[in-house]
């Protein structure tokens, strides 16, 4: 009897915790989004979508994700390939590539602020090369494009590591014999990558992409540090609804929208990149 109850006893704290602090607030946020003063209504969503900022906000967030994630995927694949092929210095390379994993998004924003600021390093470099006469304001309210580029670079810099680590782990699971066989049949390194690595890496790719896309829709502090209010994104607007505009029902509606987008993308990639059971290593 004791033996049967033990696993449940061990799981209980974690389960209770997740019910109280994950499932319950999730239900609460959904409830707040569709009610106002206790009555069911869709007004919160109308208010949110009716704001003049809303279309810009959605466009910025989606565009940022659409540009950043594919670049990160490519870079993460490159980093993972380099790490798994290096013979000496492998551990060092892995540590260096993984560093941004431990860095806060706010800190990443501040790091790139040091580069893009008016008295920053990019201006110094450009003026010493004679490209510009006086410092350019990259992050002013009139230069939306450079703000966008700075945010995209900071995001690429910060969050590629997470994909890289997942992919390195995935590559480690591919049996060496597959590559030897491909080599015997005369496959070039590129062919080996496309025909052996990529298909067998599908489960890791799926995880990496899902995780990264969800995080991309959560972008917040990087934008706050670099663009302030000049580049509104969904998470920042949610924060605004909660604090500046003091309307937590609309904030909840906004949060629910982010949740919905995240879940939709998760399901999409689970389906598109699904791995049949019999094809798993």
């Amino acid at each position: 009897m004791h033996g049967k109850a033990l696993p449940y006893l061990l799981l209980m704290p974690a389960t209770l915790f997740l019910c109280i602090f994950f499932l319950y607030p999730f239900a609460l946020v959904a409830f707040e989004a569709v009610t106002r003063d206790g009555a069911f209504t869709l007004d919160n969503f109308r208010t949110m979508a009716g704001s003049w900022k809303f279309p810009v906000t959605v466009r910025n967030t989606v565009l940022l994700a659409a540009i950043v994630v594919p670049i990160q995927l490519t870079m993460a694949l490159l980093m993972a390939s380099v790490v798994s092929r290096l013979e000496t210095g492998r551990g060092a390379a892995l540590y260096v590539f993984a560093i941004p994993l431990g860095i806060s998004d706010l800190a990443a924003g501040l790091i790139w602020l040091a580069i893009f600021d008016q008295s920053g390093f990019l201006n110094t470099l450009l003026s010493s090369l004679g490209v510009i006469d006086r410092p350019v304001m990259f992050l002013g309210y009139q230069s939306k494009l450079t703000i966008f580029i700075a945010v995209a670079l900071a995001e690429i810099w910060r969050a590629t590591a997470i994909m890289m680590v997942i992919l390195v782990a995935g590559m480690g699971l591919i049996p060496k014999e597959y590559y030897e066989a491909a080599e015997v049949f005369g496959a070039s390194p590129w062919q080996r990558f496309v025909r052996v690595t990529l298909p067998l890496l599908r489960p890791s790719l799926q995880t990496a992409i899902i995780l990264r896309v969800i995080l991309a829709f959560e972008v917040f502090a990087v934008v706050a540090a670099l663009g302030g209010t000049n580049l509104p994104v969904l998470m920042g607007e949610t924060y605004n609804w909660q604090f500046t505009l003091q309307d937590r029902n609309v904030a909840a509606a906004s949060a629910l929208l982010i949740l919905a987008i995240s879940i939709a993308f998760t399901l999409f990639f689970l389906r598109v990149l699904r791995v049949p059971k019999e094809a798993r290593i």
């Binding site: 602090f21 390379a93 706010l106 602020l113 201006n123």
Partner: protein, 281 residues
């Protein structure tokens, strides 16, 4: 005869050598891409306030502690630092105390409901968890947990707990169950066997996942900014003073966030795969 045989071998060796150089060059380039921005932030943090706002910039630090001492003495910073450490420590303790038993149960027992629990844990990854701070803000006001370190630590534990469960699961799975069984036959109770045999073996990994939980909390911005007012953590403090604080304060603050993170990642580098690679399978 031998000359004919040698040429292709030499060509292959040449190609391989070129490939090696390309590999090393790529690794170095990617390393510079990761490290250079951090270096530039550190240069700013180790320069005097005048040098930080001056133009053009020097690419080497002057090792003037003006910015850093301004930062440390700035009203609220010391307290914010202390709060960050406190919240992160609480998160670390909560995540391990709830997560490790669950990880052990998953690795050692087969029982009905195991699949559902795993699903619950994995599901948390598909949600932008910091958003759940919004509904919790109200709940916390009702229960008196608002603006307290423990309240924020509870939310951060939601972020860290799934990792703690999955990391400890993979850790315990890597320790042969036979070791435990041997201890039982020698007269140990289940708890004694765990404490004397399993725990010493798992301790370094558990410590690494504790450090990881600490880092997650240390870096978190959104929930911290939503849930704290008086007792702001360092990230919340920096975020909320972005608008008015001078550049050198931002950069010194950024460095204060980054440097511990570098140490954390270095401390857990061996376990990165257990955390990300395996955690997501």
């Amino acid at each position: 005869m031998s000359a004919v045989a040698e040429t292709p071998v030499a060509a292959v060796a040449d190609a391989r050598k070129a490939g090696d150089w390309l590999l090393i060059a790529t690794a170095i380039l990617l390393g510079v891409w990761v490290l250079l921005p951090i270096y530039l932030l550190i240069v700013n943090a180790l320069s005097s306030p005048d040098q930080v706002t001056a133009f053009p910039k020097r690419f080497f630090p002057s090792f003037d502690l003006g910015s850093l001492s301004f930062f440390i003495n700035f009203a609220g910073v010391a307290r914010a630092l202390w709060n960050s450490v406190l919240v992160a420590t609480l998160t670390m303790i909560l995540a391990i105390c709830f997560g490790a038993p669950a990880g052990y149960a998953l690795s050692r027992f087969d029982f009905p409901g195991k699949g559902s629990f795993r699903f619950l844990v994995l599901m948390t990854r598909a949600f932008p968890l910091p958003l759940l701070a919004l509904p919790l803000a109200v709940m916390f006001i009702r229960t008196g947990l608002d603006d307290t370190a423990i309240g924020l630590a509870l939310v951060h534990t939601t972020l860290a707990l799934p990792f703690a469960v999955l990391i400890t699961f993979s850790l315990f799975s890597g320790i042969p169950v036979e070791l435990e069984e041997a201890a039982w036959t020698l007269g140990c109770t289940r708890w004694q066997a765990f404490r004397k045999v399993i725990l010493p073996l798992a301790l370094p990994g558990i410590a690494a996942s504790a450090v990881f939980a600490f880092t997650i909390s240390w870096n978190e911005v959104f929930a911290a900014a939503v849930l704290t007012i008086e007792n702001r953590t360092l990230t919340a403090f920096l975020l909320q003073s972005l608008g008015e604080s001078p550049l050198y304060l931002k950069f010194a603050g950024g460095a204060a966030l980054v440097v511990p993170a570098l140490i954390f990642i270095f401390a857990v580098r061996k376990y990165l795969f257990a955390m990300w690679g395996i955690a997501y399978r």
